[in-house]
Amino acid sequence: MIRGAKLTIEGITKRYGETAALNDVHLEVTPGSYVVVLGPSGSGKTTLLSILGGFTPPTEGRILVDEIDVTHLSPVKRPTTTVFQDYALFPHMTVAKNVGFGLSMHGIKGEESSARVARALELVGLPGTGDRHIASLSGGQRQRVALARAVVIEPRVLLLDEPLGALDLKLRRQMQDELSEIQRSLGTTFVHVTHDQEEAMSLADIIVVLRDGRIEDQGPPDRLYLRPATRFSATFMGDSNLVQGVAGQSIGERVSVETSFGTFLVGGEAPVGARVALAVRPEHLRIDDVGDLLIGEGRVLGRHFIGAHQRCRVEIGDQELVLNAPAKPPLGEGQIVRVSVDADDVVLLQDGSSEAL
């Protein structure tokens, strides 16, 4: 139906006085992909979206849509449309008038307009609701109307500002699946901003992790989750156990890292003597000695039964590790277990500074 545009963000910086909300952000989005910008509040993600939509001028840098510079184009003329966090549906118009608004602004009227409005409403799962008033819609329905209103004018890039933030958890998960389906059927380039890492992982082709106005890490969700590039993305995206260490000799593709649990040979690169951290996901720790690397013997401090597994806190030496053990057999508090891990599941992080997490 519509082909998405290539979006290029070149060295975007936004300063408010002395503070930089965004600092030299570079990003290239391939046509038709679903990009999720993930970051905690204050990371600059909303500012980035506002710059993409043309509502905020950047201090430095350029925005290109299909290689055309749109940095100085007003929102009126930009080939982008935004689904706002508060939806901003016009309360004095019906659903059909809301969805048809952009079409009439682009000179599309009459039968073509009503046909496209009907198609857009069908796409978002609200066929036949054109005559309803905005006040009579539920939160989820408003979200869908906002989406229909934005996609009906076939933008080259669709911007979504925490679009699911106002919905309850169940509806949010349901809308995630629908958003993803709609994006695939339209083929439009989506840029979606959120602080919900689960939402990001379930929707994104590419996740961009933003922190303090800088891109911390970017890549496909599985790469980001399994091989995070920094301590921040390792801990912001799900849980990670971090173990401090000092890099030793490199042997081929592997580096020996000295930690309080002993010396481990893990994949990655680090100069000799560098302070590093090893990140291990709770589900990768095993309570047996079958893994390549034996971490040690520890005592179970606490346990929650989650269903698919039991989540345990295990104390080894003076450090506490979180691990997901199989649901059976039940572990008891105070029980002594051996903990091991496969070398492939250990991620070497360069910035093993002493900063608090």
Partner: protein, 262 residues
């Protein structure tokens, strides 16, 4: 003790309403007097004074003048008040607070002072007194109120609707006509109705700024100088009735607006 308190409170309220409403009520009542003098006792009801009023060319001309001055000045107040409020709320110029105070300031000045000031200014500029000058005078006194009403109805929420409209490709003129004005309609209407009502029965400025063509309150005043007459009571009743009617309409609109917000 408690009973005494409520009796006192009741009498106080009754006294207030008595003092305010009794003269008006007697005016209304004696406009229907079936006799030549507007004095008690009431000699039966008739519409003869209303017939006389409607046959009176000067009174009718003054009534038309009042309606025209009211409509034009209220329209100007609403348009100017809207643009002032929109500019202040959306563009937030430097010194917005000061500007707002400056725009509302005329509310605190007596009509006599404003009327004298305008009268002096117009004669300085060799502009003759006419219905145009009264209209300007009424814009001066009613603009602050229209501005304040409209500004109070502007919200950040509306700003986000305007932003969404621009994002969907609406030029500034379309944003104003399709989003801003329709959403502010109740406030604009309230400002218009109130400006009209206040212009309709305003006397001091109208007296100072008119000459040959006068508004209804001024015409009634000149009629009163030749003595009390049931015809002037009928004219006064018309002025009062329309004012009350407009106030009720305005109130109903504001109330509906508030209820819809809840």
């Amino acid at each position: 003790m408690k009973q005494l308190g409520s009796i006192l409170r009741f009498s106080y309220v009754a006294a207030i309403f008595g003092f305010i409403l009794l003269p008006v009520l007697s005016l209304v009542l004696f406009s229907f007097q079936d006799g030549a003098v507007a004095l008690p006792p009431l000699r039966g009801l008739s519409f003869r004074w209303y017939e006389a009023l409607f046959a009176d060319g000067r009174m009718m001309a003054a009534l038309r003048n009042s309606v025209v001055v009211g409509l034009v000045s209220a329209a100007l107040c609403t348009v100017l008040g809207f643009f002032a409020a929109y500019g202040l709320a959306r563009y937030r110029p430097k010194g917005a607070q000061l500007l707002r105070g400056y725009l509302i300031a005329p509310l605190g000045v007596s009509y006599l002072v404003i009327g004298l000031g305008l009268s002096l200014t117009f004669s300085e500029l060799s502009i003759g007194r006419s219905l145009v000058t009264v209209t300007i005078g009424h814009v001066v006194i009613n603009l602050p109120l229209a501005f304040a009403i409209i500004l109070s109805q502007m919200s950040e929420q509306q700003e986000s609707y305007e932003r969404a409209a621009r994002d969907l490709g609406a030029r500034e003129s379309r944003v104003l006509s399709l989003i801003t004005v329709p959403m502010l309609a109740p406030g604009l209407l309230a400002a218009f109705l109130l400006s009209f009502t206040l212009s309709w029965d305003e006397f001091v400025i109208a007296l100072l700024l008119t000459r040959f063509d006068v508004t209804l309150p001024v015409e009634i005043w000149s009629a009163l100088r030749t003595g009390l007459n049931p015809k002037t009571n009928a004219a006064g009743t018309i002025v009062f009735g329309l004012s009350i009617g407009m106030l009720i309409v305005t109130y109903a609109f504001i109330r509906r607006r508030l209820e819809r917000r809840r």
